[in-house]
Amino acid sequence: MKVVIMGCGRVGASLAAMLDQEGHDVTVLDINADAFRRLPPEFKGKRQVGNGIDQDVLARIGVGEADAFVVVTQGDNRNVMAAQMAKHLFGVPRVVCRIYDPIREEIYHGLGLETISPTLVGARLLKEALEKEPLARRPAPAGSEG
């Protein structure tokens, strides 16, 4: 499968490495070439520098032929715009978009984007970890009164 990942931060680089390992044809796009240092040395995919909300850039790196497009830059709005371009201009069949803001995530999910809000997912996981054992007040230190 040909996958384009926009944003080579920790998440983007980890995902790229996993998909590459599984034998997919991976292209990573970042506006800053320095970001590619996060990719493991054995990464066989393509590294492309460019601004992902510029449709000329998306065309140049082959989004028009991609089977999937994942967008995980730091900016919610940038992610939303690039995802919609991939979906509506380039007809990419699978587009997944990270949106930190849960409200925007809900709106764009409603508009038909496949969205993930790490804020909600993260909060839920932390809550589950906390509640693995019932939450209780810590015992009062010895010698203290009531």
Binding site: G75, N77, M81, D101, I103, R104
Partner: protein
């Protein structure tokens, strides 16, 4: 009208000023504190500090009763999301987005933004009109219809010189609407009108047949037009 302007840079500032002078109720939303202060000093208490696509700011600004939201920040992605959220979550009847990359016009339209304004495209169009040697000038793009009005100056070596309009092989759906001769006299042409050297031909054409029309009137050229974005 209640108009919310998102982005208090130079464009937002002057826009808000004009809108206030026209008697509208205006609110400017701006992230930067210094810019907010400047606007408040000059225009009064019409500025809210915050992120124009953050839901809490939007609630506070009263998007729900806004007649229009105009997003004029320097980031196309922020302007897009501001307008989309205003439309989807708050049912704002009219949204206007500034775009910096003229190529974004099409995707913004497709994503439901009512109006896009591109300074880059406006300047490009102006350059196009003022380049005297240019073989085809795009005067107006009729949004949504795929049609445009262009002007072509007939050069001395053109093969259409001395021909009647009815004998020209114009592309489909292209028509010559007006001819202005070298003296500047305008004429509504008929099929019998003969094209002269130096005539300025004003024609309606489809965006995709613009090149073909130019080829008919001036012959092929080695360079393409500086193109303003098409809808």
């Amino acid at each position: 009208m209640y108009i919310i302007v998102v982005g208090g840079g130079k464009v937002g500032y002057y826009l808000a000023k004009e809108l206030v002078e026209d008697g509208h109720e205006v609110l400017v939303i701006e992230k930067d504190g210094a810019k907010c202060e400047r606007i408040a000093d000059e225009l009064g208490d019409i500025v809210l500090r915050g992120d124009g696509c953050e839901a809490s700011t939007m609630e506070m600004a009263g998007y729900g009763r806004a007649d229009m939201v105009i997003a004029v920040t320097g980031g196309d992605e922020d302007n897009l999301v501001t307008c989309q959220v205003a439309k989807v979550k708050f049912n704002v009847p009219r949204t206007v987005a500034r775009i910096n990359n003229p190529k974004n016009e099409e995707i913004f339209k497709r994503l439901g933004i009512d109006t896009t304004v591109s300074a880059t495209a406006a300047i490009l169009a102006q350059i196009e009109q003022e380049l005297p040697t240019h073989p085809l000038i795009r005067l107006l793009t009729m949004k949504g219809s795929g049609l445009e009005i262009v002007e072509v100056k007939v050069p001395p070596n053109s093969t259409v010189v001395g021909k009647r309009i009815r004998d020209l092989l114009l592309p489909q759906q292209s028509l010559i609407a007006l001819i202005i001769d070298e003296e500047g006299v305008p004429r509504v042409p008929s099929g019998d009108t003969v094209i002269q050297v130096g005539d300025r031909v004003v024609a309606v054409t489809r965006t995709e047949t613009e090149d073909a029309l130019r080829t008919v009137l001036v012959g092929p050229v080695a360079y393409g037009p500086i193109s303003a974005p098409s809808p």
